[in-house]
Protein backbone atom coordinates (compact mmCIF):
# COMPACT_ATOMS: atom_id res chain seq x y z
CA UNK A 1 0.00 0.00 0.00
CA UNK A 2 1.37 3.37 -0.99
CA UNK A 3 -0.15 6.77 -1.26
CA UNK A 4 -3.91 6.94 -1.75
CA UNK A 5 -4.30 7.51 -5.47
CA UNK A 6 -8.08 7.71 -5.55
CA UNK A 7 -9.02 11.26 -6.49
CA UNK A 8 -12.25 13.11 -7.09
CA UNK A 9 -15.24 10.91 -7.90
CA UNK A 10 -16.47 11.74 -11.40
CA UNK A 11 -19.35 9.27 -11.65
CA UNK A 12 -21.03 7.74 -8.61
CA UNK A 13 -22.28 4.15 -8.31
CA UNK A 14 -25.88 5.41 -8.32
CA UNK A 15 -25.29 7.35 -11.54
CA UNK A 16 -23.72 4.30 -13.20
CA UNK A 17 -26.61 2.02 -12.27
CA UNK A 18 -29.19 4.60 -13.38
CA UNK A 19 -27.43 5.05 -16.74
CA UNK A 20 -27.16 1.27 -17.23
CA UNK A 21 -30.93 1.07 -16.75
CA UNK A 22 -31.41 3.68 -19.50
CA UNK A 23 -28.94 2.03 -21.87
CA UNK A 24 -30.44 -1.41 -21.16
CA UNK A 25 -33.92 -0.08 -21.98
CA UNK A 26 -32.63 1.43 -25.23
CA UNK A 27 -30.89 -1.80 -26.27
CA UNK A 28 -34.05 -3.75 -25.38
CA UNK A 29 -36.06 -1.48 -27.70
CA UNK A 30 -33.47 -1.41 -30.51
CA UNK A 31 -33.14 -5.21 -30.59
CA UNK A 32 -36.80 -6.20 -30.15
CA UNK A 33 -37.30 -9.67 -31.64
CA UNK A 34 -33.55 -10.15 -32.10
CA UNK A 35 -30.91 -11.93 -30.03
CA UNK A 36 -27.83 -9.72 -29.98
CA UNK A 37 -24.46 -11.17 -29.09
CA UNK A 38 -23.01 -8.98 -26.36
CA UNK A 39 -19.21 -9.11 -26.45
CA UNK A 40 -17.44 -7.68 -23.41
CA UNK A 41 -13.79 -6.74 -23.72
CA UNK A 42 -11.72 -8.22 -20.93
CA UNK A 43 -10.92 -7.16 -18.34
CA UNK A 44 -12.12 -3.58 -18.05
CA UNK A 45 -15.66 -4.09 -19.35
CA UNK A 46 -16.65 -6.80 -16.85
CA UNK A 47 -18.33 -4.64 -14.17
CA UNK A 48 -20.11 -2.57 -16.86
CA UNK A 49 -21.33 -5.61 -18.86
CA UNK A 50 -22.55 -7.29 -15.68
CA UNK A 51 -24.58 -4.23 -14.70
CA UNK A 52 -25.81 -3.45 -18.22
CA UNK A 53 -27.18 -6.88 -19.20
CA UNK A 54 -29.36 -7.06 -16.10
CA UNK A 55 -31.38 -4.25 -17.66
CA UNK A 56 -31.77 -5.80 -21.11
CA UNK A 57 -35.24 -7.31 -21.11
CA UNK A 58 -34.90 -9.79 -23.94
CA UNK A 59 -32.82 -12.67 -25.23
CA UNK A 60 -29.08 -12.10 -25.52
CA UNK A 61 -25.95 -14.21 -25.83
CA UNK A 62 -22.98 -13.16 -23.71
CA UNK A 63 -19.37 -13.65 -24.71
CA UNK A 64 -16.02 -12.09 -23.93
CA UNK A 65 -12.82 -11.42 -25.79
CA UNK A 66 -9.39 -10.26 -24.81
CA UNK A 67 -7.26 -8.23 -27.19
CA UNK A 68 -4.10 -6.23 -27.04
CA UNK A 69 -3.47 -3.49 -29.55
CA UNK A 70 -0.07 -2.58 -30.81
CA UNK A 71 0.10 0.78 -32.50
CA UNK A 72 2.25 0.66 -35.61
CA UNK A 73 1.46 4.21 -36.61
CA UNK A 74 -1.33 6.68 -35.98
CA UNK A 75 -3.58 5.29 -38.71
CA UNK A 76 -3.30 1.63 -37.92
CA UNK A 77 -3.68 -0.64 -34.96
CA UNK A 78 -2.74 -4.29 -35.01
CA UNK A 79 -4.78 -6.51 -32.80
CA UNK A 80 -3.37 -9.46 -30.94
CA UNK A 81 -6.09 -11.81 -29.80
CA UNK A 82 -5.37 -13.21 -26.38
CA UNK A 83 -8.79 -14.84 -26.36
CA UNK A 84 -11.28 -14.54 -29.20
CA UNK A 85 -15.01 -15.10 -28.78
CA UNK A 86 -16.28 -18.68 -29.04
CA UNK A 87 -19.75 -17.73 -30.32
CA UNK A 88 -20.33 -17.79 -34.08
CA UNK A 89 -21.27 -14.27 -35.21
CA UNK A 90 -22.04 -15.15 -38.85
CA UNK A 91 -25.30 -13.35 -39.68
CA UNK A 92 -25.72 -12.15 -36.09
CA UNK A 93 -26.12 -8.75 -34.48
CA UNK A 94 -23.13 -7.93 -32.31
CA UNK A 95 -22.75 -5.31 -29.58
CA UNK A 96 -19.17 -4.68 -28.46
CA UNK A 97 -19.02 -3.43 -24.87
CA UNK A 98 -15.99 -1.68 -23.45
CA UNK A 99 -15.16 0.44 -20.44
CA UNK A 100 -13.74 3.47 -22.22
CA UNK A 101 -13.33 4.74 -25.77
CA UNK A 102 -10.12 6.74 -25.96
CA UNK A 103 -8.08 6.58 -29.17
CA UNK A 104 -10.75 4.50 -30.92
CA UNK A 105 -8.10 2.39 -32.63
CA UNK A 106 -8.79 -0.88 -30.81
CA UNK A 107 -12.55 -0.49 -31.09
CA UNK A 108 -12.53 0.17 -34.83
CA UNK A 109 -10.19 -2.80 -35.36
CA UNK A 110 -12.60 -5.01 -33.41
CA UNK A 111 -15.55 -3.79 -35.49
CA UNK A 112 -13.61 -4.75 -38.65
CA UNK A 113 -12.77 -8.13 -37.12
CA UNK A 114 -16.46 -8.85 -36.41
CA UNK A 115 -17.55 -7.76 -39.89
CA UNK A 116 -14.90 -10.04 -41.40
CA UNK A 117 -16.33 -12.89 -39.34
CA UNK A 118 -19.64 -12.20 -41.07
CA UNK A 119 -21.58 -10.31 -38.40
CA UNK A 120 -24.78 -8.75 -39.79
CA UNK A 121 -24.38 -5.64 -37.66
CA UNK A 122 -21.86 -4.38 -35.13
CA UNK A 123 -22.62 -1.65 -32.60
CA UNK A 124 -20.39 -0.16 -29.93
CA UNK A 125 -21.33 0.50 -26.33
CA UNK A 126 -18.91 2.22 -23.95
CA UNK A 127 -19.35 3.24 -20.35
CA UNK A 128 -17.10 6.24 -20.94
CA UNK A 129 -16.27 8.31 -23.99
CA UNK A 130 -13.20 10.55 -24.13
CA UNK A 131 -13.78 12.57 -27.31
CA UNK A 132 -10.55 14.56 -26.80
CA UNK A 133 -8.47 11.36 -26.92
CA UNK A 134 -9.94 10.22 -30.24
CA UNK A 135 -7.35 9.51 -32.94
CA UNK A 136 -9.49 7.37 -35.15
CA UNK A 137 -13.11 8.19 -36.05
CA UNK A 138 -15.30 5.60 -34.42
CA UNK A 139 -19.06 5.83 -33.97
CA UNK A 140 -20.30 4.94 -30.49
CA UNK A 141 -23.91 3.79 -30.52
CA UNK A 142 -24.37 3.69 -26.76
CA UNK A 143 -22.40 5.88 -24.35
CA UNK A 144 -22.69 5.99 -20.58
CA UNK A 145 -20.86 9.22 -19.79
CA UNK A 146 -18.69 11.64 -21.74
CA UNK A 147 -15.62 12.75 -19.82
CA UNK A 148 -12.49 14.80 -20.37
CA UNK A 149 -9.20 13.20 -21.29
CA UNK A 150 -8.17 12.49 -17.71
CA UNK A 151 -6.70 9.36 -16.17
CA UNK A 152 -9.62 7.64 -14.50
CA UNK A 153 -9.96 4.49 -12.40
CA UNK A 154 -12.75 2.33 -11.02
CA UNK A 155 -15.72 0.29 -12.23
CA UNK A 156 -13.41 -1.80 -14.41
CA UNK A 157 -10.80 0.82 -15.19
CA UNK A 158 -7.41 0.15 -13.72
CA UNK A 159 -4.00 1.52 -12.99
CA UNK A 160 -1.49 -1.33 -13.30
CA UNK A 161 -4.30 -3.80 -12.74
CA UNK A 162 -5.59 -2.16 -9.56
CA UNK A 163 -8.74 -0.23 -8.66
CA UNK A 164 -11.06 -2.14 -11.04
CA UNK A 165 -13.27 -3.04 -8.07
CA UNK A 166 -14.14 0.51 -7.06
CA UNK A 167 -17.93 0.89 -7.43
CA UNK A 168 -17.49 4.39 -8.88
CA UNK A 169 -15.27 6.22 -11.37
CA UNK A 170 -12.65 8.54 -9.96
CA UNK A 171 -9.67 10.55 -11.06
CA UNK A 172 -6.31 8.87 -10.59
CA UNK A 173 -3.97 11.03 -8.55
CA UNK A 174 -0.64 11.34 -10.33
CA UNK A 175 2.52 12.50 -8.57
Amino acid sequence: MGKNRIGKILVTEEQIVARCKELGAKITKDYQGKTPIIVGLLTGAVPFVAELIKHIDGEIVLDFMSVKSYQGNIQQSKLAFIHDITTCVQGEDVIIVDDVADSGLTLSAIVDHMLKKGAKSVKLCCLLDKPDAKKHPVHLDYVGFTIENDFVIGFGLDYNGRYRNLPYIALYVLD
Partner: protein, 69 residues
Amino acid sequence: MSAIIEQMKQKGARSVKVCCLLNKPAARKYPIPLDYVGFEIENVYILGFGLDHYGYYRNLPFIAVCKED
Protein backbone atom coordinates in the same frame (compact mmCIF):
# COMPACT_ATOMS: atom_id res chain seq x y z
CA MET B 1 -12.80 -26.50 -9.72
CA SER B 2 -10.26 -28.67 -7.90
CA ALA B 3 -8.21 -28.75 -11.13
CA ILE B 4 -8.18 -24.93 -11.21
CA ILE B 5 -7.08 -24.76 -7.58
CA GLU B 6 -4.29 -27.21 -8.42
CA GLN B 7 -3.20 -25.11 -11.39
CA MET B 8 -3.07 -21.92 -9.32
CA LYS B 9 -0.89 -23.68 -6.77
CA GLN B 10 1.42 -24.91 -9.51
CA LYS B 11 1.69 -21.30 -10.70
CA GLY B 12 3.01 -20.53 -7.22
CA ALA B 13 0.02 -18.84 -5.58
CA ARG B 14 0.55 -18.40 -1.85
CA SER B 15 -3.10 -19.14 -1.13
CA VAL B 16 -6.15 -20.05 -3.19
CA LYS B 17 -9.70 -19.62 -1.96
CA VAL B 18 -12.93 -20.41 -3.73
CA CYS B 19 -15.99 -18.17 -3.86
CA CYS B 20 -19.20 -19.38 -5.53
CA LEU B 21 -22.52 -17.65 -5.96
CA LEU B 22 -24.28 -21.01 -5.71
CA ASN B 23 -23.43 -24.30 -4.07
CA LYS B 24 -25.07 -27.57 -5.06
CA PRO B 25 -23.84 -30.00 -2.38
CA ALA B 26 -25.96 -32.84 -3.80
CA ALA B 27 -24.11 -32.64 -7.13
CA ARG B 28 -20.61 -32.84 -5.67
CA LYS B 29 -18.38 -35.62 -6.98
CA TYR B 30 -15.04 -34.29 -5.75
CA PRO B 31 -14.70 -32.71 -2.33
CA ILE B 32 -13.75 -29.03 -2.59
CA PRO B 33 -13.59 -26.49 0.18
CA LEU B 34 -15.77 -23.47 -0.59
CA ASP B 35 -14.56 -20.49 1.37
CA TYR B 36 -17.33 -18.13 0.35
CA VAL B 37 -20.81 -19.23 -0.72
CA GLY B 38 -23.68 -17.05 -1.86
CA PHE B 39 -26.57 -19.50 -1.65
CA GLU B 40 -27.02 -23.21 -1.19
CA ILE B 41 -29.51 -24.80 -3.54
CA GLU B 42 -30.80 -28.22 -4.50
CA ASN B 43 -29.44 -30.06 -7.50
CA VAL B 44 -31.89 -28.57 -10.02
CA TYR B 45 -31.29 -27.03 -13.46
CA ILE B 46 -31.18 -23.29 -12.96
CA LEU B 47 -30.57 -20.21 -15.06
CA GLY B 48 -29.97 -16.47 -14.73
CA PHE B 49 -27.35 -14.12 -13.28
CA GLY B 50 -24.65 -15.68 -15.44
CA LEU B 51 -26.07 -19.20 -15.60
CA ASP B 52 -27.27 -20.21 -19.04
CA HIS B 53 -29.43 -22.61 -20.97
CA TYR B 54 -27.73 -23.08 -24.35
CA GLY B 55 -26.12 -19.65 -23.99
CA TYR B 56 -29.36 -17.83 -23.17
CA TYR B 57 -30.72 -16.25 -19.97
CA ARG B 58 -27.37 -15.14 -18.55
CA ASN B 59 -28.72 -11.58 -18.37
CA LEU B 60 -31.62 -12.36 -16.03
CA PRO B 61 -31.11 -10.28 -12.87
CA PHE B 62 -32.25 -13.24 -10.73
CA ILE B 63 -31.78 -17.02 -10.50
CA ALA B 64 -34.66 -19.23 -11.54
CA VAL B 65 -35.43 -22.89 -12.13
CA CYS B 66 -35.22 -23.89 -15.79
CA LYS B 67 -38.52 -25.25 -17.11
CA GLU B 68 -37.67 -28.42 -18.96
CA ASP B 69 -39.89 -29.95 -21.61
